[in-house]
């Protein structure tokens, strides 16, 4: 009898807790509660330690396995460096010319913000959502919705900033949506994530969008969350939806969303998208 009552109490207690917590946290919040903050802070050292240990083991194994490849790459990079040096000189000349022309037209470019490095110390345990935990938070100037990138391209946005660690919702999360456009034709749409795959789906606003496999997709800047012209990925295939009324594309993200070890967070000026409030 006592066991049955205890079982009932557990079931009822958990049920009530779920209803209470789900109601409390149904919408995305600017800040997490003190209790959540305390749990995250408590786990932080262990997560950082675990991530560091795994990265060290992976790094050692990878280095040993790829010594001949590293030698070949070094020779390639030396050749590449010489080419990049020449390109940089040309870029400086073009930048100076661009600045002069902007001044002549009175055109003010948007403030690009500051990039801050962060380490990925955790990832969501389930396979439904795609979120990672990074080791930087509001103390370092990170705000909700700050864009997160790698040198290859956009990764996602900060969805739950904590004091010293934050949760990043990746582009391939089913709840993620990014205003994007095809760089070549400037046809705009929305890129959204799907369950269990890294490939994104892009839904175009126009049914006659001119898009072909291989096209580069960048952020459009609409919606105000992401600044324009951040690389999202490359079109893999295009197709039409039911009745041919809507055009879609499958987009492969430029960043490898499955293997994220370090990321860059765009910390904007106060009041700007991605910047602290």
């Amino acid at each position: 009898m006592r066991v049955a009552v205890a079982r009932m109490a557990v079931a009822l207690g958990v049920g009530l807790l779920v209803v209470f917590l789900a109601g409390l946290t149904a919408a995305e919040r600017e800040r997490v509660s003190a209790f959540e903050q305390a749990v995250r802070e408590g786990l932080r050292p262990a997560l950082v330690l675990a991530a560091g240990a795994v990265d060290r083991v992976k790094g050692t194994v990878a280095t040993l396995a790829s010594l001949p490849e590293i030698r070949r790459r070094q020779e390639e990079l030396e050749r590449e460096m010489a080419r990049v040096g020449e390109l940089e000189r040309r870029l400086q000349i073009l930048e100076a010319e661009n600045r002069r022309l902007r001044e002549l037209l009175g055109f003010r470019p948007p403030t690009p913000g500051r990039l801050m490095g962060a380490r990925v110390v955790g990832r969501n345990a389930d396979s439904w959502l795609s979120r990672v935990v990074i080791d930087q938070g509001t103390r370092a100037g990170i705000a909700k919705d700050a864009p997160v990138l790698t040198p290859e391209g956009l990764v996602g946005r900060v969805s739950s900033p904590g004091t010293r660690q934050s949760v990043v919702t990746l582009l391939c999360d089913p709840g993620s949506a990014v205003s994007a456009m095809v760089a070549r034709s400037r046809d705009a749409g929305v890129c959204y994530g799907r369950v269990g795959t890294d490939l994104l789906r892009m839904r175009f606003f126009s049914r006659d969008a001119r898009v072909v496999p291989g096209d580069l997709v960048v952020t459009s800047g609409l919606g105000g969350v992401f600044p324009p012209h951040l690389v999202v990925g490359t079109v893999v295939e295009t197709f039409r939806g039911d009745y041919g009324l809507v055009q879609y594309a499958t987009v492969r993200p430029a960043a490898d969303l499955k293997r994220l070890d370090e990321v860059l967070v765009l910390v904007g000026s106060p009041g700007e998208p991605g910047g602290p409030p």
Partner: protein
């Protein structure tokens, strides 16, 4: 008091392992669920109440660290803890494949309950894709890891804790 502290420490360690290490052990995008396996282990060894509470605690930990909707994984894992312990006493008894069946059924129950609650909260999660890409792989991976809890070990812990294991 000691068994409670032991269970809390176990869940915390499994949480660190799950959030920090398991994603780097993913095979074809599927990762093991150490938190789920810990809940199943505790449910098998310590019974319904401990299983339910361990499930709620483990799920809440996961919700807090990476979740948006607090309570979703807490509810899913609590169901697994309650369900696995109940099924063991009612259906399986002491059969040797109990841990494997518990891991398969527990993974399916946890993923389906999570899906239902996230859907109710408004996340667009299609069931068809989810079954193929999430539920089946999770059952398979966790089922393969289930022999971490061999039947003889479960019986020994149960005997020490005084839990009724019979059918």
């Amino acid at each position: 008091m000691r068994p409670v502290l032991g269970a809390v420490a176990l869940v915390a360690a499994a949480g660190v392992l799950q959030l920090g290490v398991a994603p780097r052990m993913a095979v074809l995008g599927v990762k093991p669920d150490f938190l789920l396996l810990t809940v199943i282990g505790l449910a098998l060894c310590r019974g319904t109440v401990a299983g339910g509470l361990a499930g709620a605690g483990a799920g809440l930990l996961e919700d807090i660290v990476v979740g948006q909707f607090l309570g979703v994984r807490a509810a899913a894992f609590a169901l697994v803890g309650l369900g696995v312990a109940r099924a063991r006493t009612r259906l399986f008894g002491d059969q040797p494949l109990v841990p494997v069946a518990a891991a398969l059924g527990g993974a399916a129950l946890a993923e389906m309950a999570s899906w239902a609650l996230w859907r109710a909260a408004g996340l667009p999660l299609p069931l068809g894709q989810g079954l193929i890409r999430v539920v089946l792989p999770a059952c398979l991976y966790n089922g393969l890891l289930a022999p971490l809890f061999p039947g003889w070990w479960v019986r020994r812990v149960q005997a020490r804790a005084g839990v009724n294991s019979g059918a």
